[in-house]
């Protein structure tokens, strides 16, 4: 028996529930104007599943498991790069304050 050791499922559940609470409160504070960037950045963040895929792809053997992993890496990487980049593109549009000021005083 493990004595005081807690089953990892309980630890994971603790982390999960707390993270849901953090997510809930942080996301309610997101301004509605940025809900589309919110979705694209969450696309990018959920691609952190890449971490699991890399472990599978890099098992050191060439077998079904590592090939599945490599495919998952490629899919997730599309989101990693695409998600952050497209978010950046959108947020850049929300930034443009100077041209507006100039145009107003023209």
């Amino acid at each position: 028996m493990h004595g005081i050791t807690v089953d990892p499922i309980i630890t994971n559940l603790t982390i999960f529930v707390l993270a849901v609470f953090v997510g809930y409160h942080v996301v309610w504070n997101v301004t509605p104007a940025l809900h589309t960037p919110l979705m694209s950045v969450t696309n990018a963040i959920s691609s952190v599943i890449l971490v699991g895929a890399i472990l599978a792809a890099g098992s050191g053997r060439l077998d079904t498991g590592s090939l599945l992993g490599a495919a998952a890496v490629a899919l997730a990487a599309v989101n990693t790069f695409g998600g952050f980049l497209v978010t950046e593109r959108m947020l850049e549009m929300f930034k443009k304050k100077e041209p507006k000021a100039k145009e107003k005083h023209r």
Binding site: I9, N12, I15, F16, A19, V20, G23, V27, N29, V30, T31, P32, L34, H35, T36, P37, M39, S40, V41, T42, N43, A44, I45, S46, S47, V48, I49, L50, V51, G52, A53, I54, L55, A56, A57, G58, S59, G65, S66, L68, G69, A70, A72, V73, L75, A77, V78, N79, T80, F81, G82, F84, V86, M90, L91, M93, K95, K96, K97, K100
Partner: protein, 470 residues
Amino acid sequence: MTQVMSSNQVALLYLVASVLFILALKGLSHPLSARKGNRFGIIGMAIAVVVTLAITHNIGMALGAIAVGGLLGWFVARRVEMTQMPELVAAMHSLVGLAAVLIAGAVVYNPSAFSIPDPIPAGNRVELFIGTFVGAMTFSGSIIAFGKLAGLGKSFRLFSSAPVVFKGQRLVNLLMAIAMVGLGLAFVLAAPDAQMPPFAAMTAIAFVLGVLIIIPIGGADMPVVISMLNSYSGWAASGIGFSLNNPLLIVAGALVGSSGAILSYIMCKAMNRSFFSVILGGFGAAEGAATGTAEQRAVRSGSPEDVAFLLGNAESVIIVPGYGLAVARAQHAVKEMALKLTEKGVTVRYAIHPVAGRMPGHMNVLLAEAEVPYDQVLEMDEINSDFGTSDIAFVLGANDVVNPLAEEKGSPIYGMPILEAHKARTVVVNKRSMASGYAGIDNPLFYMDKTMMVFGDAKKVVEDIVKAID
């Protein structure tokens, strides 16, 4: 094992990445802090990936796959039009879903690569089952959502923006869901060498079920669907995090999952639909009945010059942009018009309904792209009380979100919060024709005495107005 880092170091760096992800979302509370937030997200992801590569035996294949996927993502992100964001986001949800399924498959095939005992303990198998079926449904459901959003209905019936329904659909869905759970249990209870068949069958059913739950949902409900799939993709990532005992995946997945859930809630509220009625689908199926009677009624129509005259003499104008505006690519012309009016001393503001675009916040991005200053762009709650004191409400390519029928009992959209454009002193509506909106319901706003209709392509009309404003 030739580890360059201890597991404690790895876990701490994963914690740093988790915190950076939270900061990435926190940054989005204001347009000015948002880019910094995005940088935090990128740094967090870079830490997570580099740390994982450092503890991996053979990084060649992973690096190659990152290069392939990364290049594709980079290319798409650079090229995509802002009007296509909903499709892009749907496509990205599907990728997360499929990646989750593939990883789960890899775990079942070779648990030791993830330091999971072989045979896989029952607890981990439950987690794998959940992560897999959520991932599989996210994948196939998002493909359907993508098809509907991209307007591929003509080439493939399942992509039709009208609800695809058949007799006994809900019963079929229910039976398949039961079969899926049954096979999931079989997978959890199976002998170590007999896990693959129930796992594969369960996954296959989840793929089909994902298709079945999205096809009956009509085009008007797509903002809810896309938010819901956003949520699912997060839960799928979390599920994989549970099975791999990886806190970073659990945290990131939970953040994304709750974000999508909140957006679904906001979208449902904006359409006055309960989440379940959206999921069960079929909305907008009886379009013909609602539109039939309207055709003969008279409307007052005017020319762009008439509108220019009205606008030029107004003190305050509220522009209500809808998706039609984006389709016509008229955002830049509208900004020109607003600029000219502002120079003449007219107060111009924009009123955005939460479902003005095809996804949450879509219209804000489209206006931002046209360099409309974000402080002129107001949300429904902020601006609705100002319509009554405004001279002109200029509705451009919007329809359902300004439909006063929403205030009448018995109408199919009764109770939906609308932008109260009908309260302005004068209403100007630009439409291509008298066709009904996405929800397929006629709009009495067009027949009001104070309403002037300007027919034609939004871009052309607005450009003519710009020319006519002196």
